[in-house]
Amino acid sequence: MAIGEQQTREDTGAGEDEFEADVGWRYTLGKIKQDTTARFGLYVIAVVTVVAVVTTIDANLSRITFERYDDFALAESVWYHPERHPDPGETERRMPPVFVDGGTWQHPLGTDRAGRDYIARLVYGTRVSYFVGIVATTLGLVGGVIVGAVAGYYGGWVDDVLMRAVETLYAIPPLVLVIVFTVFVSGGNPDIIYAVFGVGIAFIPVFARLIRSRVLSVREMDYVEAARATGVRDRDIIRRHVIPNSFAPVLVLATLQIGVTILIVAGLSFLGYGAQPPTPDWGEMLRISHQYMHSDPWLSIWPGLAILVTIMGFNLFGDGLQDALDPRIK
């Protein structure tokens, strides 16, 4: 580790009176690589990303991947539609995982009550959770950063108005926002898109407050004053000088927030306000399976584990990122 640090320092070829820590993507990633837990988080995120992207690019991939399983377990089963395949009703087609009595290698993690392969469902559930986490967090981040940076930079009544508005928003639980969206925008037909918007907007305050506190100190920096004295427009100062210098903690928060978002949207799906059947989604799988908790606990455990591992990945990476970006901690 010491050698690694020395090299980084030499690479930059800095002057002798260097006060700041090294900066830049390469350096940050380098530090994360040295951090075992953060590296683990990075791997989890990488796997989840690949799975989510691949299943999105080619939704029929499972036809190839799962060819050896019977028809009903394949992509068809993932997209099992109640109209084409009427509710099995009493005809239970649940199957336990392979290591439990009655399980087969055909469905290593078993099937759900409609006979859909659980692995296929889990794999396809990834992309819902993943994109929901990213989109909702991005929404909150973009909104929050703009509001917070403008409020912090201008101060005065602009700050008061924006921050009071944001605090009002902060007082509303995400679930309520999602319900309001669902009711007013779609007329009461729940869909994942409303959950994403609701949760994203609910997170605006978190980002706005964080970046505002940073902006308050950054705006006093001489380079901001220098930009003003050189005739740079306020919006360019905010965009080019204030936000980039306030962004490090926001980046860390965003990483952690993706995990939180995935969890909240899974909760919303569980309550029926998120992904709608037949869309495979971990939260929705939990909702269906919780009624079989006693007889078939595995049906709940698999999606639960998937959620746990994914969130843990984002959290570990976020922690590592924080350590790497903040030289004072170590």
Binding site: D17, G156, E225, A229, T230, V232, H241, P244
Partner: protein
């Protein structure tokens, strides 16, 4: 010297605090001619920096420029007139005049391309997330209507001019890869790159060590000769003033106490404060005990002392100094001093302030 490019007349800037208004700049007047370096000297808190930010109209809440005129060539940066509608207490209220440039005009026409500022701390004045070259280029593009490629060439040229070795390679380096003196050069390159006619240098060499300071001062003199740029040099260091300034304004507690050509200020000092400032500079032929520090500290600008603001610390103060507020009296060609010694308002007839005479006699053998 030629054309006067900046005139400041009776400039007043206040900061409103919970305990009352702080008169940070209280009636400051001076001018700057083309191609000259004008010094603005004084202790910390004298109002030097507020004066410069008032000129640029960069004073922020809770501060406000409340009176005075600043004109740059034919444009009015600060200007007031009495409002038509009188305020409730019968006194006419001062409102900005119509010809005063709007904030937008200030930004587009003045800041950067006509008047630029070099800040005090070279460590803090460069944005750490962009390359040095990129920042110079941004400012040049903004103020000189150049394409990105031209601005890049110009930036490299400016870096070369201020003495950055291998300017082409250093263009893509980040600020933390530069030493303090180099960063100061970069800041000068940034200001010069916009080709302003006036550069306000706010204690630009204070954070540097003496050898680097010397190089920077030399560089500035060269650049003044080459580009005919004028400078307002804000500093508390009389040594720097002696080295580069053509004319000097000495500030104390929001007012100019003495102004004149640099030689007169040093060799024909008229104001006791200037004298005290000069007396407190360490010199090789003196030991520390020979130094004559100025007694006490500068009082707050919230309740400045009545009469002459310097009288509580002035070795020559007499009773009259408590009552008469001095103006700038002519004491020589272009040389003015705000001390009532130079006017016929009863200084010489009044008694020395209590205890003052004995102290000065003992203090100066």
């Amino acid at each position: 010297m030629s054309e006067t490019i900046l005139t400041v007349d009776g400039l007043k800037t206040q900061f409103y605090t919970e305990r009352g208004a702080v008169r940070a700049v209280d009636g400051v007047s001076f001018d700057v001619k083309r191609g000259e370096i004008v010094g603005l000297v004084g202790e910390s808190g004298a109002g030097k920096s507020v004066t410069t930010s008032s000129i640029m109209r960069l004073v922020e809440e809770p501060g406000e420029v409340i009176d005075g005129e600043v004109s740059y060539r034919d444009r009015t940066l600060v200007g007031f007139e009495e409002s038509v509608a009188e305020a409730a207490d019968g006194r006419p209220e001062l409102v900005p005049r119509d010809e005063m440039l709007s904030n937008r005009e200030m930004r587009e026409q003045i800041r950067g391309n006509e008047i630029a500022i070099i800040f005090q701390d070279p460590m803090e004045s460069l944005n750490p997330v962009y390359t040095v070259g990129g920042q110079i280029r941004e400012f040049i593009e903004l103020n000189r209507e150049m394409s990105t490629e031209e601005a890049r060439e110009e930036s490299i040229e400016m870096l070369r001019r201020v003495g950055i070795p291998e300017a082409e390679d250093r263009y893509d380096d980040y600020p933390h890869e530069f030493s303090g003196g180099m960063r100061q050069r970069v800041l000068i390159a940034m200001a010069l790159g916009c080709r302003p006619n006036l550069i306000i240098a706010d204690e630009p060499t204070t954070a540097l060590d003496v050898t680097v300071e010397g190089q920077i001062l030399e560089l500035v003199s060269e650049l003044v000769d080459e580009f005919d740029t004028s400078f307002i040099w804000v500093t508390h260091d009389m040594g720097v003033v002696a080295e580069i300034c053509d004319r000097v304004n000495v500030m104390y507690l929001g007012k100019i106490v003495e102004q004149g050509p640099v030689d007169d200020i040093f060799h024909d000092t008229k104001h006791p404060y200037t004298e005290a400032l000069l007396g407190s500079i360490p010199r090789p032929d003196q030991t520390v005990s020979d130094l004559v520090p100025i007694e006490g500290t500068m009082p707050g600008a919230m309740n400045p002392p009545p009469g002459c603001r310097f009288h509580p610390r002035c070795p020559d103060a007499r009773e009259a100094c408590r009552e008469v507020e001095p103006e700038l009296y002519d004491v020589g060609p272009e040389h003015r001093s705000a001390c009532i010694k130079h006017a016929d308002v009863g200084y010489w007839e009044s008694e020395p302030l209590e205890g003052r005479e004995t102290e000065t006699v003992e203090g100066r053998p």
